[in-house]
Subunit: 328 residues, 2 copies
């Protein structure tokens, strides 16, 4: 993957990159509907993990929008003490699309390119409207928890692809935002492609790229299931994979639990579980950089633990999720 | 103004840059309220001016969002003919904030900088949430008229200032968007400042910069009054300035109407008319590049004429607005 990047390095080490899975924060089968309760819970967990000394009682809300049914800005704005406060720990959020964007993209075939076709061009515009709407809602939810969130669209950042591989991804603005104490919130987006004119850049590809460039201490994927299973989690007897070791040659193996049968992730399980093999492969590429990856369920105590970073010291037996780590 | 820009030039000449004044598309005294009727009218006028052969009956809507009260995507999506269509003429939209953003920015003093103060940092986040909300609604309104609009935030584009003067403004992505047939929609934004940490970058400064770099055929400012008056338009006897000539040294004079008294734009008129002297000064800097500037009222026949470009051949007597042109 050839990259043209400005050589800017962050001045402090990035603590974490968090992927908010689309399925965890939107209602899967309801077009463009946010799972408000889950999103609020996840935002609160992110605050607890990364904003020191914050409690739900002393949050300094940063979304000053008019609330539904009100004509005035919220009154808490007058409560701001103007003393300098400690910066929150640095992290980046990347979210998927869930029930936003997917419909528009698949209806028009944006991922296949061809902007001279009116359906593709309109679908490109429609997809960006949908994913930026979701991005705005996530930025607002985080800001309401006192997280200084800043929406940044890959398209506007100038990121583009060649034959669906990322070629231009200038992350200097992401770094500047982190260094000034903000939390960039990026998302899967419709982008320009030098060969096929346009395509979809997925949140997972963005995470892998950011992880390679920013070298966070760890990466957390928050999804709608506890982690990676040996077969679709709805099937009886599905076993949660607790720990995966990634080897020097990029291959990976299950360390825990010790299963009697060799685990086989078939194409069928790939299809029905929302791409678990793809997910492990993506995570393995990050882990190979020496960066631990934790996959767990959004809104649970397990996600609170993963976000806190304590798993780096070892995975407790009562933690439910999948840890993917490089074994030298 | 030192500029660090990539040297990318658009492959076709830009037809027009349109400024949508905040006062023209939002309700001035109602916090975060869009003037839906005006926005729809303005969007329709932009379609008529720049999308060839389009009528309100054959519009290919590009906002596929779920409509309020509906659970499905709009059905017109199935009507897309998949024949290549002529590109719309190239133009760029820059909008102001109106009743979005101003409250958040002034309450926190974002323009004065100082991100270590919690009020400023929160205000920065709150301002961006507010202006990007408005941007999304304008992009949607344009897309509903079949204009392939793409929201682009100056912050995400990596634009920044030094002591409130623009220093970094990489417009390569704006150019790429234009060249692939999209209509970039930019806005006044909260941005980083190398000296005072942060500030507000106004829509007018963005327009001046884009005009200098992209050399459009003409620039149109759509506002909530007919144009520039010799005194606050609410005062009795206020006279609409029809034509202003900009001279080689950057000074300007009123050409039409021929007024008996010398026109004096006092500081008082500046204050009460929303910065008319500032407006003329900004427009004069663009006109000095040889680019005609037309200021007129959004949603009127006069704005339709200005957007069509026919004023370049001469200003008809029945056109109401202010034309600002370079006179050699």
């Amino acid at each position: 993957m050839e990259q043209k990047n400005k050589t800017v390095s962050p001045t402090k080490r990035l603590r974490c990159i968090v992927k908010l899975g689309g399925a965890a924060i939107t209602c899967k089968n309801k077009l463009e509907t946010i799972d408000e309760e889950n999103l609020k819970e996840v935002s609160s967990h992110l605050r607890q993990a990364f904003v020191p000394d914050s409690t739900s009682a002393n949050v300094l809300g940063m979304d000053w929008s008019k609330r539904q049914g009100q004509s005035e800005a919220p009154s808490f704005i007058n409560d701001f003490s103007d003393q300098p406060v400690a910066d929150s720990e640095s992290f980046v959020v990347v979210h998927g699309a869930g029930s936003f964007g997917h419909f528009q993209a698949s209806k028009s075939g944006v991922h296949k390119g061809g902007l001279s076709r009116p359906l593709v061009k309109a679908g490109f515009v429609a997809t960006r409207i949908s994913v930026t709407s979701l991005n705005l809602e996530i930025v607002k939810a985080l800001a309401r928890e006192g997280i200084p969130s800043i929406g940044m669209s890959p398209f506007s950042c100038g990121w583009s692809t060649c034959q669906r591989n990322m070629t231009e991804a200038d992350i200097s603005m992401v770094i500047k935002a982190i260094d000034t104490g903000f939390v960039p919130v990026l998302h899967g987006d419709a982008v320009l492609d030098t060969l096929q004119e346009c395509t979809i850049l997925s949140g997972d590809v963005i995470i892998r790229h950011l992880a390679a460039e920013l070298k966070p201490e760890f990466v957390v994927f928050l999804t709608d299931v506890l982690g990676v299973y040996d077969r679709p989690p709805v099937e009886s007897g599905a076993v949660l994979i607790r720990e995966i070791a990634v080897h020097e040659d990029g291959s990976w193996s299950v360390v825990k639990p010790k299963l009697e049968d060799t685990i086989e992730f078939t194409v069928a399980s790939h299809d029905t579980t929302g791409g678990m093999v793809t997910k492990i492969t993506e995570a393995a590429m990050i882990a190979k950089l020496g960066i631990d990856v934790y996959i767990t369920k959004a809104g649970t105590d397990h996600s609170v633990k993963a976000l806190s970073g304590i798993l780096k010291g070892g995975i407790p037996d009562d933690w439910l999720g999948t840890a993917i780590r490089y074994m030298r």
